[in-house]
């Protein structure tokens, strides 16, 4: 009896072909064919688009020739001024019809070509041979021109929708460094990246995701820097995505990551273009999605979650110090409550005498054992934090921290907990904010609960054993073939220049080695030369 049948390794998933998403039942294929009659085409359009109020159909006659034409576009996705001034106007007023076509039967195809080359002042012009192709373009904000007698459509880009505008990314604020962040429009985001790196080798490839959503996704890399195998693997994994719609890169992340059962994220998420481009130059691939301001960066190592762009913009000592602080902070954030429980409940002999006496004094009135007290306070704090996340920015932050401390103080006075527990919770909370990457911070915060449970059962021995178990797990994770704990294990000397201590710029002359050493072997990592080792 197999409970979970699906392989947890995305390498084994079947590739989902994009063509399937466009599949339409056969009987409808007939009706999707383009007819030569404008009215009929329009009727088909209207039938397919339903009664959508935002679809606009405009019939008109082409210049002086009297040939019927029509344009179709979706209001809201397009720039009306552009359409009126630059499409309708020239087509209606200014089309120059060659003298040879003044006979009663103008050649519609030639006309089509004339329009395309002389009277359609748009860049990015395409032709569509069937209605469903045309629909896709329509939904992307393009305009469809139907000419009577011609069995194809002319598509032009008239995009113009309202966008949030480029602001500072809320999830990754820096003191020093650029403050632009990605927005929800894919084109704007790729532009931000292009502006920073003018290398013609910067490749931006698109792929469409989702059966119904048909959202545009882009994967970006720098040819010549990235390992070709990595690009192929990214492509392959993206093609396995088979869902209705992808709303945010988070969904992509969960589908393509190596191990979806673990607590720890294996893909980096960022809103910052400068971080993205820096990673691209180190040989990684960025994945972006239309309608999502978050870009994914693969592959990732664990230590990258502790890096912030500021480390590079400031002097090397500051950067190194900041990183050291973050690593210590994350250790504190995950283990402080557990250590408190272990020391207080199991090994009071190891705490300095005065501290022991003061802890014993303050705990004398507390009805719960240290473990229950710790769990209570930690859960309360998590509740506060989660609640604060829903409130508007300014209020939310204040309420979680200040509220936590005030409630803590009240709890001490009520005799429910001891003051030292409040200190422990405060240290944990503050230390967990220090991690720049949100998903890693959540992982570190979550891991402290099992630590507490083990500490309550076996004291420091339990804590150490569980720490070993976590290390084994981390060491075993791979992100797109790269060992998760590089460059510490396996030891890659060169990469240590950017590890905890950030060496001065002058000394970092080579790209990190770990990403070239990408091992894309599909075999189980333990198979060395065919035998299990």
């Amino acid at each position: 009896m197999k409970i979970i049948k699906r392989s947890k390794n995305p390498k084994n998933n079947k590739v989902f072909s994009q063509n399937d998403s466009n599949s339409v039942p056969a009987e409808q294929k007939e009706s999707l064919a383009v007819s030569t009659n404008v009215t009929e085409n329009l009727k088909k359009f209207k039938a397919f688009l339903g009664d959508s109020a935002d679809a606009v159909f405009r019939e008109f006659k082409l210049g002086m020739s009297g040939i019927k034409c029509a344009i179709v576009y979706v209001d809201g996705l397009t720039d009306r001024t552009l359409i009126n001034d630059h499409i309708l106007k020239p087509l209606m007023y200014q089309v120059a019809i060659p003298e040879t076509n003044t006979n009663s039967n103008p050649n519609h195809h030639e006309l089509f070509e004339i329009i395309k080359s002389n009277a359609f002042p748009l860049g990015d012009v395409k032709e569509a041979e069937s209605l469903d192709e045309a629909f896709l373009f329509l939904m992307s904000g393009e305009i469809v021109l139907i000419v009577d007698g011609v069995q194809k459509f002319l598509i032009g880009s008239a995009r113009g929708w309202r966008d949030r505008g480029i602001n500072e990314p809320q999830s990754e604020m820096v003191v020093r460094g650029p403050r632009d962040g990605f927005t929800e429009t894919l084109r704007t985001n790729t532009a931000l990246i292009r502006r920073r790196c003018r290398d013609p080798n910067l490749c931006i490839k698109t792929i469409r995701l989702g059966r119904r959503g048909k959202t545009d996704a882009a994967y970006i890399y720098i040819k010549g820097v990235v390992a070709q195998q990595l690009v192929e693997e990214v492509e392959r994994r993206l093609q396995t995505i088979d869902v209705d719609i992808i709303l945010d890169t988070g969904q992509i992340e969960q589908i393509i990551q190596d191990n979806y059962l673990t607590l720890f994220p294996q893909i980096q998420v960022t809103e910052r273009p400068d971080k993205t481009i820096a990673n691209l130059l180190e040989g990684r691939v960025a994945i972006m999605l239309d309608n999502s301001p978050f870009a994914l960066i693969v592959p990732t190592t664990f230590y990258q979650y502790f890096q912030s762009p500021e480390d590079y913009y400031d002097r090397w000592i500051l950067g190194s110090f900041a990183r050291l602080l973050r690593l210590t902070g994350s250790l504190l954030a995950s283990m402080t409550p557990a250590l408190y429980i272990a020391m207080v409940s199991f090994h009071p002999g190891y705490i300095p005498t005065n501290l022991v006496l003061s802890i014993a004094a303050t705990r004398a009135t507390v009805p719960f054992p240290a473990f229950i007290e710790a769990i209570l306070m930690e859960i309360t704090f998590e509740l506060l934090r989660e609640a604060g996340a829903r409130l508007p920015r300014a209020i939310g932050q204040t309420i979680s921290i200040v509220g936590g401390l005030i409630i803590g103080d009240a709890a001490v006075r009520a005799g429910i907990t001891s003051p030292i527990m409040i200190i422990v919770v405060a240290i944990t909370a503050i230390a967990s904010f220090i991690i720049p990457s949100y998903n890693a911070a959540v992982a570190v915060r979550m891991v402290r609960f099992p630590f507490m449970v083990v500490a309550a059962s076996f004291g420091i021995y339990g804590v150490i054993l569980f720490f070993i178990v976590i290390c084994i797990h981390l060491v075993n994770l791979k992100s797109f073939g790269v060992d998760f704990l590089s460059p510490q294990a396996p030891f890659v000397y060169q990469d240590w220049k950017d590890f905890i201590i950030r060496f001065p710029q002058q000394m970092m002359k080579q790209r990190p080695l770990s990403y070239y050493a990408v091992d894309m072997d599909r075999r189980d990592q333990d198979d060395i030369k065919g035998t299990r080792v």
């Binding site: 207080v344 409940s345 199991f346 009071p348 002999g349 190891y350 005498t353 022991v356 006496l357 003061s358 802890i359 014993a360 004094a361 303050t362 705990r363 004398a364 507390v366 054992p369 240290a370 473990f371 449970v453 083990v454 309550a456 059962s457 076996f458 004291g459």
Partner: protein
């Protein structure tokens, strides 16, 4: 299938063992013994005085409260220290904890008969800190523990801190001996100079020293001799 089976077994075993927590004792249930005094009792027995910390008293005193005892002394008659420990269990509702022992004081009379066998009990406990200082008191150690320092510290901590700071600044107080040093010296029989504590007018003084020859106390050295001793940096083994 095998993998699932062993995963299941592992989880069961681990969750069963998680319910145990054999060693978990919360900190407030401990009676922290800060000082032990051993005196000669009747008929070959000893009288052991345990100075147990009352954390709330210590905290209150520390915050300028005053009032409220910071320690409580419990006297036990017994044959030897292990026996005394057993008897202590029946006299307090908390679990004795020796890991914060500051001082061990031997009474004068008992030291004359030999301290080695009593020291042995201390040295064998794995919980013992090696920083516990050993002293010999003039008269009975019981009296020493009855003196309560005015600043609210417990007697044991007071003595311990006194010895530590006189190390550097005072000439008439010889270097103190702690359990760690004793452990090494007792490997071969040797002579020791232990610290001396005496009660003078309701206050404690650690001036001078106590000479111990082959585990028997033989006499005091006063402050002048202590100065002389301290000025010559020679180890005791070669001295007497």
């Amino acid at each position: 299938m095998l993998k699932k089976l062993c995963l299941l077994t592992m989880m069961t075993l681990v969750s069963l063992s998680l319910t145990g927590c054999w060693d978990r004792t919360d900190i407030e249930r401990y009676a922290f013994i800060l000082g032990i005094g051993i005196d000669k009792g009747e008929k070959d027995g000893i009288v052991v005085t345990y100075q147990i910390a009352l954390p709330q008293g210590i905290m209150a005193a520390g915050q300028g409260g005053g009032g409220g005892e910071s320690t409580v002394e419990i006297k036990v008659d017994a044959v030897n220290k292990k026996n005394a420990d057993q008897k202590l269990l029946s006299k307090t509702n908390q679990i004795p904890n020796y890991s914060h022992l500051q001082v061990i004081v031997f009474g004068e009379k008992l030291s004359k008969e030999g301290i080695r066998e009593h020291l042995d009990f201390f040295l064998r406990e794995p919980e013992m800190r090696h920083l516990t200082k050993v002293l010999i008191s003039r008269g009975d150690s019981e009296k020493v523990f009855k003196v309560k320092p005015k600043n609210g510290d417990s007697t044991s901590q007071y003595i311990s801190e006194m010895l530590e700071q006189t190390q550097r600044f005072s000439l008439s107080v010889p270097k103190y001996v702690d359990l760690g040093m004793l452990q090494r010296k007792l490997a071969h029989p040797s002579d020791l100079l232990l610290s001396k504590v005496s009660k003078i007018d309701d206050m404690l003084s650690v001036e001078g020293g106590a000479v111990v020859k082959e585990d028997k106390f033989i006499g005091w050295i006063d402050s002048k001799q202590a100065i002389g001793y301290k000025l010559f940096p020679i180890t005791l083994n070669r001295n007497i």
